[in-house]
Amino acid sequence: MKILVPVKRVVDFNVKIRVKPDGSGVDLQNVKMSMNPFDEIAVEEALRLKEAGKAEEVVVVSIGPAKAEETLRTALAMGADRAILVETDDAVEPLAVAKILKAVGEAEQPGLILLGKQAIDDDCNQTGQMLAALLGWGQGTFASKVELASDAVTVTREVDGGLQTVSLRLPAVVTTDLRLNEPRYASLPNIMRAKKKPLDRRTPADFGVATAARLRILRTEEPARRMAGVKVGSVAELVDRLRTEAGVL
């Protein structure tokens, strides 16, 4: 079986985000970029399934700027077999990404598409669901456990009330949650080998998909600054101020 893992290049989770002065978005100049952490978990899971003999090939795909090649090389260094870069400088939205992934899926015919539940830049949490709908495949979102058989996948989902287990006929789409696994470090020999692994370059036009924006961003703001605390003299004063000033009692 082949597993397809879409990965996105996003601002590194350690970076302190700055909003552009005109409020049109987040400043990406000279900012460290990395693989979306949920996608790293998806790559790790695919590799573990391959190592367990449940899959033969792990193919990673990224839709984004030329620099997204770095993200793909990181996935290859973790152990993925080959990569596809669908290159575009447009800011891609979930629907366009899902349409491109549908076309890639139809061309590659994977048994399973494993992807992050959301990207930490826009937190949309839509791509996996849209992709499953476009393909007409079953979906198991927010996975904290994935068990793959030859014709079905059992997914334990992290839902509000606790855990829910679903069984999906293959092919299927599964999105990963934080607790699914802990991604490995890329070893030095694998970083070296990744340089020589195949990387196929495509464009959205190759798949007949237009990436022009459908969403309009009105404004981007930093979260309000936390106010300094105050010291109160007594419990009575605390209760009084909670009631009169904070209005929480």
């Binding site: 090389r73 990181t74 260094a77 470090y185 890329a186 070893s187 030095l188 020999p189 694998n190 970083i191």
Partner: protein, 381 residues
């Protein structure tokens, strides 16, 4: 500046490993003087030992610049861990350059996996900066040799499985009468001294080795007989890039800790980072760390281009070592009294920094080399 995308990948991986695995336990390893074998085995599995060993010989096949980047990041986690990486790099470079195919097949893999622990044995009681005082001897004995003598301050001596030992094979030939032997340190006639208690890099196990009539088989000889001194010296260029990087890593850790503290600590109703007196300490730390980093990286690139790198490597090691000592002292200063107390990272960093001016050739010896190269090749050479 010199760093490619692949180098960045290597650096990011080492940085993440240092942040997650090494730095959190550095303080315990220092306090307990404990050899972190489990971290070393994990590093072995990730290819962090023997970084320059070619792919054909089972290594990752990276250049000296990648080695420098890894050393800085590991050291930012804890210098003792980086020093183990440096030690294995020296030994594996010797094996790659001078080992027979049989010696490479026997030793490279176990050494890179960190399951076989190694020692690099030059220094003796009478032979420190000046190795012409070397007294350890290997005399012909049938097809092999008999080893006699003693080494001191040998990193890994208390735990190592094999030692690469410099010994005299011809008492009358000076530097041309020394050879290197791969010695089984569990063999009869090898005696280990106790573990030394050191000022810094306390997780590194350092001690003495004594040899009395240790039988060496013919295949113990590494490379050509009589070329041992030159072979040991030939890997020191790379070794100095390694120690320079290690010093930069210590400095960087100090800057990070000091910057963080200066933005939190309040006196006179202000963050101490708002006082110019503290700002100038931080600025000097940052600029000297960056200068040392660039010297080290340019020396690494010189080695990788096959240029004569002797002066560049000595300048990098010397500058970076002096920088690390001076700038971790500044980090302690910024922490005030806390900086002098065990348990604060900067207190350890200051102690860990000092040895970078002493081992891999003292900084006086580095200046001697720089001056000698200047006289030989001129001001621009």
């Amino acid at each position: 500046m010199f760093v490619t995308e692949t180098h960045e990948q290597v650096r990011d991986m080492a940085r993440q490993f240092a942040d997650e695995v090494i730095r959190p336990v550095a303080i315990d390893l220092d306090r307990d003087e404990r050899f972190p074998g489990e971290i070393f085995e994990q590093m072995g599995d990730l290819g962090l030992f023997g970084i320059g060993v070619p792919e054909a010989l089972g290594g990752p096949g990276f250049d000296t610049l990648a080695y420098a980047l890894v050393m800085e990041e590991l050291s930012r986690g804890y210098a003792s861990v980086a020093d183990q990486c440096g030690l294995v790099e020296l030994i594996s470079t010797l094996l790659v350059r001078h080992g027979t195919p049989e010696q490479q097949a026997q030793w490279l893999k176990p050494v890179m996996s960190a399951r076989t622990k190694v020692a690099y044995c030059l220094t003796e009681a009478e032979a420190g900066s000046d190795l012409s005082g070397l007294r350890t001897t290997a005399d012909r004995d049938g097809a092999g040799w008999k080893l006699n003598g003693g080494k001191i301050w040998i990193h890994n001596a208390p735990v190592a499985d094999i030692g690469f030992v410099l010994a005299r094979t011809d008492r009358n030939a000076g530097h041309r009468g020394m050879s290197i032997f791969i010695v089984d340190l569990n063999a009869k006639g090898v005696e280990r001294g106790p573990k030394e208690h050191k000022m810094g890099q306390r997780a590194s196990q350092v001690g003495a080795l004594n040899f009395s009539d240790v039988t060496l088989p013919p295949e113990a000889l590494l490379g050509e007989e009589g070329r041992g001194f030159h072979m040991m010296m030939s890997v020191l260029d790379k070794g100095r890039v390694g120690i320079g990087s290690l010093a930069v890593g210590i400095g960087q850790a100090g800057l990070e800790a000091a910057l963080d503290y200066a933005q939190q600590r309040k006196q006179f109703n202000a963050r101490i980072a708002d006082f110019q007196g503290v700002q100038w300490l931080l600025a000097d730390m940052a600029k000297d760390i960056e200068a040392a980093r660039l010297l080290v990286q340019s020396a690494a690139v010189k080695i990788d281009r096959g240029e004569n790198a002797t002066k560049a490597c000595s300048m990098a090691k010397c500058f970076a070592g002096d920088m690390a000592v001076a700038r971790t002292a500044d980090a302690v200063q910024i922490f005030g009294g806390s900086g002098y107390i065990r348990g604060f990272e900067v207190e350890r960093l200051y102690r860990d920094a000092k040895i970078t001016q002493i081992y891999e050739g003292t900084n006086q010896i580095q200046r001697m080399i720089i001056a000698r190269e200047l006289v030989k090749h001129g001001a621009r050479g």
